[in-house]
Symmetry: C2
């Protein structure tokens, strides 16, 4: 199995190293990832500047290729141009920070998986619910390997990706893995507005994440809050077909 | 009716001027838009830098506020901080270039509408199928006004936005408006790989857009190719609920 690995934290992050190390045990791994942090880039593509892919070394050996672009760029450039053959699977992560609920809309980690899906490839996004670079990645790596090794046999639709979130707790405290739905969490948006030394206003985003379903272990946020690994099938058949029929009667 | 207008081409584009002029006839309009071109930014948010909103004048009067951020930033900052009250409707556009089919995934124009939806507001994205800055915006402005004036009575779900694409043909050649689904078009990705003067490789994206359903006027690409304004309800209930049940039996 040929596996393309990318992320949005950058090719030098601990998360992508843990993921690549784990997936090497089940396949042939190529890492093509952004050369720097790309969080909250959404499904951005670089269209007005050229991309470069340069070899990136780690621990004395070639680890992968660093691209001056977004996670979606890495998948598009990798599959169309850099790789000799299409991978069997694309895995994005391990992200430092959860990508649950509405956060999948903003997530570069998830967008890499979505781009893979749009090219017709099975894809998995993996995130750990901690921003600490010192986090223990072993549980996330273990579950990523388990799902990556099985998902090609699951017959997923080609409009669907899998989104995994792993709680940042001691690996032996994890209760197991649950299939979940996206929870109805949301950001309570606010901005901290300040004045610069010239008296001009500027605004820092300071949203508060609200999780009304955090008790419900059948949701992604609920599962990870209660010690479970969450695995959510996300589909991109975005047309609201029922509304198509109803709106036809209204216009 | 209070209407917030934004776009991804930048506050100085002809498209947003045409949209604001048309919507002023049916409501009180505030323009909060990026201070520069933001195409293909996807649903990006600015999280690691502060935002500024500065008054932008056009034709001798205050036209709106220019923000050093993405379309989604403009909606978030506008609704939470800049506006005195929540708008009744958010309209994004008029984009120079179609946002049909898979392009809704990359589109900053659509992402502004999606961000509005996530805040609980009805939203419409409007695009014209031409990149020319000299394009005739009158048909797009007319149809945007018609839908913006009606959609609050249509009882749309709060997980759904409307995505309009208008063919760049003479307004009197337009056959009318159709409710459509997203077509199954896709990008045949390739990169034009070159060497710089130092002999190092770089890659320009040169995708070719494939539209196998361009004959089908019930799809967005098919409608606009055949002279119709396309209006597609797009929903963001992304959990693949059938797969949730099936995967539970597999893991």
């Amino acid at each position: 199995m040929n596996i393309l690995i990318t992320n949005d934290d950058g090719i030098d992050s601990p998360g992508i190293l843990a993921l690549a190390s784990a997936l090497k045990e089940i396949g042939s791994v190529t890492v093509i990832a952004p050369d720097r942090q790309q969080s909250a880039v959404g499904h951005a593509l670089t269209v007005s500047a050229p991309l470069r892919a340069v070899p990136f070394h780690r621990d004395g050996g070639l680890f992968g290729y660093a691209v001056n672009g977004t996670p979606a760029d890495c998948v598009k450039l990798g599959v169309s141009t850099l790789l000799d053959q299409k991978p069997d699977l694309v895995v994005s992560g391990i992200n430092h920070g959860a990508n649950t609920s509405v956060n999948v809309m903003y997530s570069g980690t998830v967008s890499a998986a979505t781009e893979a899906m749009m090219i017709g490839l099975p894809a998995l996004a993996v995130s750990l619910t901690s921003f600490s670079l010192e986090s223990d990645m072993s549980a996330a790596a273990k579950y990523a390997k388990q799902v990556a090794g099985s998902m090609l046999t699951w017959g997923l639709n080609n409009d669907t990706i899998l989104n995994m979130n792993v709680p940042a707790i001691s690996p032996d405290e994890i209760k197991g893995m649950r299939i979940t739905r996206l929870s109805n969490s949301y950001w309570d948006d606010s901005y901290d507005s300040r004045k610069d030394p010239m008296g001009r206003e500027y605004h820092w985003i300071v949203g508060t994440y609200q999780t009304p379903e955090s008790h419900d272990i059948d949701t992604d946020d609920g599962a990870v809050r209660n010690g479970w690994v969450s695995l959510t099938p996300i589909h991109y058949d975005l047309t609201h077909r029922k509304e198509v029929e109803r709106l036809k009667t209204l216009i």
